[in-house]
């Protein structure tokens, strides 16, 4: 399963090669024209209809860690790459560096903590990655400063519809985009698998600058908050209630005409649909929207619980409905059913 492969791939911001290779292999039978730009964005080009230029974007990178120093004892100190909650780090399995060394994030055991320490989140300075090395020299045989680490999480199905794995933000979006690109459309389609979203939407901006799209669709694995202690009015999206359309977030206000067309399509084809009910956070859409003379954008997300943690959860019905909705939207654009 592609989602499993993508979820388990090693690809923090700035180190997206493995994800890129999986995507290229998967898309090879369906896409003739590629390019890889200076920042590492993978751009798949389909069609030469000379019509509207549509950019579809999903980011390949995930939040991770970077090794910043190695102690004399062989323990690895690290910094965060992207917005990981400090509280979810301790005691997790990780994979480090290109040799994929296994390690665990260690900290002082509860027995040794002072009473006030037990009430605090362990700061990064109190955490380290332990790969079982005996000394600095021993560790350096396996790992260099600057190597990345990601959570070691296996993809797993909890039921017929619910799966868990790491980095559904945004490997879910990547998997949706792959499926969408397997179809043909009478449009000029630019499938952009972007880099460095988690550290500042950096890949998408330069990709959009080069593509100059007439409109763009950003595919995300977005946050769910249908969980305690959120009150219902604080829910952002709800698992199992269909693809989520962003109307506004901290980086963008989505195009109302595109939203209206998506709502119409969902209604006509009985696809469940929800709006993202929070306006915090940003996405690649913010950068694309502000490119050159401006690009109308919309964000369509697969709702995911527990993103930016070692394990995220999604509903496969939401995932498949997102693919269906995006394909129908592209067909509607190609048939002129929707004019900007």
């Amino acid at each position: 399963m592609l989602l499993k492969k993508l979820s388990e791939a090693f690809g923090p911001s700035g180190c997206e090669g493995e994800v890129r290779n999986i995507l290229m292999e998967e898309l090879a039978p369906h896409v003739k024209q590629w390019r890889r730009d200076a920042l590492g964005n993978l751009i798949a080009v389909k069609g030469s209809a000379g019509g509207l230029r549509v950019m579809l974007a999903a980011h390949m990178d995930e939040c991770g860690l970077m090794i910043s120093s190695i102690d004399r004892s062989g323990l690895l100190r690290f910094r965060k790459v992207g917005g990981i909650d400090d509280r979810v780090l301790v005691s997790k399995h990780v994979i480090v560096g290109s040799k994929k060394i296994s390690g665990v994030i260690g900290a002082k055991a509860v027995h040794l903590q002072k009473p006030d320490e037990r009430n605090q989140v362990i700061p990064l300075s109190g955490l380290y990655i332990d790969v079982g090395a005996k000394s600095k020299e021993d560790a350096e045989k396996l790992i260099k400063i600057g190597d990345y680490a990601v959570f070691a999480t296996e993809f797993k199905a909890l039921s017929d519809t619910v799966v868990v794995g790491k980095s559904f933000d945004d490997r879910a979006g990547c998997a949706v985009l792959v499926e969408v690109l397997k179809d043909e459309y009478a449009l000029d389609i630019y499938g952009a698998f972007t880099v460095q979203e988690e550290i500042g939407l950096r890949g998408a901006g330069v990709a959009a600058y080069a593509i100059e799209p007439d409109l763009a669709i950003v595919l995300e694995g977005t946050t769910c908050s249908d969980i305690p202690p959120s009150k219902e009015y604080g829910y952002c999206t709800t698992l199992g209630q269909g693809p989520a359309i962003t109307i506004m977030d901290a980086s963008v206000i989505c195009d109302r005409r595109m939203i209206a067309e998506l709502v119409r399509i969902a209604k006509d084809h009985d696809i469940p649909l929800q709006f993202k009910r929070s306006v915090t956070g940003g996405s690649d859409a913010g950068k694309i929207n502000q490119t050159k003379a401006g690009v109308p954008v919309v964000v369509i997300s697969v709702p995911c619980r527990y993103i930016h943690s070692p394990v995220s959860m999604l509903n496969l019905a939401d995932f498949h409905n997102t693919i269906k909705l995006v394909k129908l939207f592209l067909k509607s654009i190609a048939e002129g059913g929707f004019v900007l």
Partner: protein, 329 residues
């Protein structure tokens, strides 16, 4: 001009939902410009030909507002702000949706006044149930403040003086200018309140030789106010800096000279916090000389923003002067 001001300030148009205000401005300026178009972000870009360099004038059409995020079973709406809104200014205020639906802002029971925050507030549109509410309003719908324009004589009060007063000034200047020395791109921009977004893409497309934003600025002339040497009634300002830009010195000098040559009173403005479209224009492509003319305004980002009518009239004069004077850089 007061009639025009009343129309533009009372019209609906929060960031991202500028269609109604854009249509009003389009009809106002149509007889006075040579070309008009609307770009991908909804900016209204009007060209008045005078030959010579390209002058971009930016006044933002959008105002602050709220966006609906949830409708509960009893028909109450929860919301997030669109732009910089303080909960202090909201309780008891009325809001207006694009379809004309009115709502009142209410608050949950608060143990103490300091517990007040936006997520303790809700909007009541008079619906008794979720179903009844959804006939009028949906999730993602956006509302602005609802408040009538008031003419206090010299002083004018309304919602959205920020930045419709500048829209009105730009409209009047387009009507009044006789000998434009530029190809004037009058841009009524979108989404300023959420990050100067309309001006950024418009400037990219136009690539002006000179960019000037027209906006409102804070004042230091009310009891126990911030320290700021700007007052109502002492003329429009020539901005020196705000959080988004250091105005290009040659542009500032040019604007001061135009004011002096035309005997228009003006004030110099150093704004500690806040940004303007000029910040986005200045950083376009390889860089663009940029400045700002501001209209002093009290109670910014509330439903009762106050300006002085003489500042507005002097603002029109200064803007016409700018349009008719060559910027030598």
């Amino acid at each position: 001009m007061k009639e025009l001001i009343k129309k533009v300030v009372e019209t609906y148009g929060p960031a991202g939902s500028e269609a109604q205000i854009r249509e009003l401005i389009r009809s106002e300026i149509a007889p006075y410009v040579d070309e008009m178009r609307v770009d991908a972000l909804g900016n209204l870009i009007a060209l008045k030909r005078g030959g010579g360099k390209k002058l971009m004038l930016a006044a933002h059409m959008d105002e602050i507002g709220i966006i609906v995020t949830h409708i509960d079973k009893n028909g109450f709406l929860r919301f997030f702000p669109v732009g910089g809104l303080s909960p202090l200014t909201l309780i008891g205020n009325r809001v207006m949706f694009e379809n004309g639906t009115l709502g009142v802002v209410g608050a949950e029971k608060l143990e103490a006044q300091k517990d007040l925050s936006l997520n303790k507030l809700f909007i009541d549109i008079g619906a008794a149930s979720k179903t009844e509410a959804e006939v009028k309003v949906g999730i993602g719908d956006v509302a602005c403040m609802s408040r009538e324009f008031a003419d206090l004589g010299t002083r004018l009060v309304a919602k959205a003086m920020d930045d419709r007063i500048a829209c009105a000034i730009l409209i009047e200047a387009l009507k009044a200018v006789r000998k434009p020395t530029y190809d004037i791109y009058a841009v009524f921009t979108t989404q300023e309140e959420v990050g100067l977004r309309g001006a950024r893409v418009a400037a990219y497309d136009i690539t002006p030789d000179l960019g000037i934003a027209i906006d409102v600025t804070r004042t230091g002339d009310t009891p126990e106010s911030i320290t700021m040497d700007v007052s109502l009634g002492k003329g429009p300002t020539v901005k020196i800096r705000d959080s988004s830009l250091l105005c290009t010195p040659s542009v500032r000098k040019f604007m001061e000279e135009v004011a002096q040559q035309n005997n228009i009173i003006y004030q110099l403005e150093v704004l500690e916090a806040g940004g303007t479209d000029a910040g986005a224009i200045q950083l376009t492509k390889g860089g663009i000389p940029a400045g700002v003319m501001s209209i002093p305004c009290r109670y910014i980002h509330t439903a009762s923003e106050m300006v002085d009518y003489s500042d507005v009239q002097n603002g029109v004069k200064l803007l016409v002067g700018i349009m008719e004077t060559e910027f030598k850089g």
